[in-house]
């Protein structure tokens, strides 16, 4: 039993790592294509059919490029920073149920690496640690733009963590559990049971905070190309820079799984349709990340902090109060 469990867990970890590393690569392709179509361009076309092999070309380039460590950087921290981003993104995935449980060759598989009973808290905490990557990279780089990016990273982190925590508190009070499986079962009754109908405010707040968490466009201020070059990534090259990218895209995918699981019914009753539904919802939220990037301008750091502290946090607190009164 013990050995079987161990082998199963290791296999799950490897599958999650491989699938989402590959998806992160494909995510860059989707992003370029979606952005291109929204801006009336073609996007990558030359490598493979419809430019599909562009991902492989990028991979070859990143892997074979020389790994430059500039002279004045703090080398150990500089080297470890990209690993922090990528590793924490995948560690957070340990508590996400990607699919309902299914039986294959008479063996029941739970597609979740570790079903801990505080899933959502763990996921948000570990994803938050992911912002240490840009922070450390920026501070160790000995580059002024990188340092500005690190300072912004710290400000963003402190601002959005409050909103995520408070917005998620109201649904947690309703469900009475922190496990994503319990969240899913609470909403398993069908379309009418989704938490979004009872907690629309929390849903919108959490969605906004998700953009800050993943550092996507309206809040892409830690690596704004037109202000601070590539921010924390300015001094990086080769696969170390690639690891930042993998971490960012993996985080986007995991966030796109977590939002439907929390608010939009997850995989429902666990049928095949429910599983496909979860994948469809995930695809929509991932697409929305790209859509926003094409359609919206970036905000300034002070605007983000103003939004988080003076607008979103009071709304979240009020939402908790109202929920508590209704629940009583």
């Amino acid at each position: 039993m013990e050995t079987a469990y161990l082998i199963e867990t290791v296999i799950k970890i490897v599958v999650v790592l491989l699938v989402f590393s590959a998806l992160a690569g494909l995510g860059t392709y989707f992003e370029r294509k979606v952005l291109a179509f929204m801006q009336r361009r073609l996007g990558p076309m030359n490598v493979g059919p419809y430019g599909l092999l562009q991902v492989a070309a990028d991979g070859v380039k990143l892997f074979t490029k020389e790994d430059v460590i500039p002279q004045n950087v703090v080398a150990p921290i500089f080297k470890i920073a990209p690993v922090v981003t990528a590793a924490t993104a995948f560690m957070a995935a340990a508590a996400i149920p990607f699919l309902p449980q299914f039986t294959i060759f008479g063996y029941t598989v739970h597609p979740i690496v570790a079903d801990i009973n505080i899933g959502i808290l763990y996921i948000l905490g570990v994803m938050g640690v992911g912002l240490y990557g840009p922070l450390l990279g920026g501070m160790a780089s000995a580059n002024k733009f990188s340092l500005i990016s690190a300072a912004r990273g710290a400000a963003v982190f402190i601002s959005y963590e409050v909103v995520t925590g408070l917005s998620i508190l109201a649904p947690i009070m309703m469900v009475g559990s922190l496990s994503l499986i319990d969240f899913n079962n609470y909403q398993a009754g069908g379309f009418g049971d989704w938490i979004i109908w009872t907690q629309p405010v929390a849903f919108v707040l959490f969605w906004i905070a998700a953009f800050a968490e993943t550092g996507r466009t309206p809040f892409h201020l830690i690596a704004n190309d037109h202000e601070i070059i590539d921010g924390f990534g300015t001094e990086y090259s080769g696969m170390r820079w690639g690891l930042f990218f993998i971490g960012e895209y993996a985080n986007m995918f995991f966030m796109s799984f977590v939002i439907p699981l929390l608010f939009l019914g997850g995989f429902g009753d666990g049928s095949l349709l429910g599983a496909l539904g979860l994948l469809g919802k995930m695809a929509f939220f991932f697409f929305f990340f790209l859509w926003t990037r094409a359609a919206w301008p970036d905000v300034r750091p002070d605007q983000l902090m103003w939004l988080c502290w003076k607008v979103l946090m009071p709304i979240a607190v009020l939402n908790i109060l109202v929920t508590a009164i209704v629940l009583m």
Partner: protein, 191 residues
């Protein structure tokens, strides 16, 4: 067996990280080692089955150390060594060792004196989070509320310290003073 391996691995890592934090003269090394050590400590909670506390350890300390980074960024050039002013080396080492031993004795003496035992029985069917809630809102209600009040006081004083003209109170001022203040403000805007 896995528990033992995990325990020794993480205790080694934690101690190594905090050793780096104390000994290095590089602000960036010290802060990063501190953050890593804090996160490794959460592993002990997970090993003991206290999942909630483990996750809270990660959430709280990653945020707290992040604030320390912000201060480090403001005060030091984090890519250079900080020149420390060192006094009597032996005195510092001796006092620090003595303090550490004292803390260990103070905490562990009652444990050895009367065999350690759990105060509260496990509640059937209640999870980790519910158990903490039950203890927090029964036995430890007063310390919990006191901590909450203290945090509120800290927050309000922080706002007062950081905000502009927070030392003025409109209710205590006469109408004339308020009008004067407004006119002054308008003048500044016009200038």
């Amino acid at each position: 067996m896995f528990e033992a391996i995990a325990f020794y691995l993480f205790s080694f890592l934690t101690i190594a990280m905090f050793y780096i934090t104390v000994t290095t003269s590089q602000a960036l090394y010290a802060l990063s080692a501190l953050a890593a050590g804090m996160i490794f400590i959460s592993a002990f909670f997970f090993i003991l089955g206290a999942d909630f506390l483990g996750a809270v350890q990660i959430v709280v300390y990653s945020g707290a150390v992040m604030a320390l980074y912000a201060f480090g960024m403001m005060f030091f050039d984090t890519t250079r060594d900080v020149k420390e002013k060192k006094g009597n080396k032996y005195l510092i080492t001796g006092l620090a060792t003595l303090a550490a031993i004292l803390v260990v004795v103070i905490v562990s003496a009652p444990l050895i004196g009367e065999n350690i035992s759990a105060y509260y029985p496990m509640t059937e069917g209640a999870g980790n989070t519910q158990e903490i809630g039950m203890v927090l809102f029964t036995k430890y209600l007063v310390p919990f509320e006191l901590a909450a009040v203290m945090l509120l006081v800290a927050m309000i004083s922080g706002i007062v310290l950081a905000g502009k003209k927070m030392d003025l109170s409109l209710t205590l001022m006469s109408d004339r003073e308020i009008i004067e203040m407004r006119e002054e403000k308008n003048k500044k805007v016009l200038l």
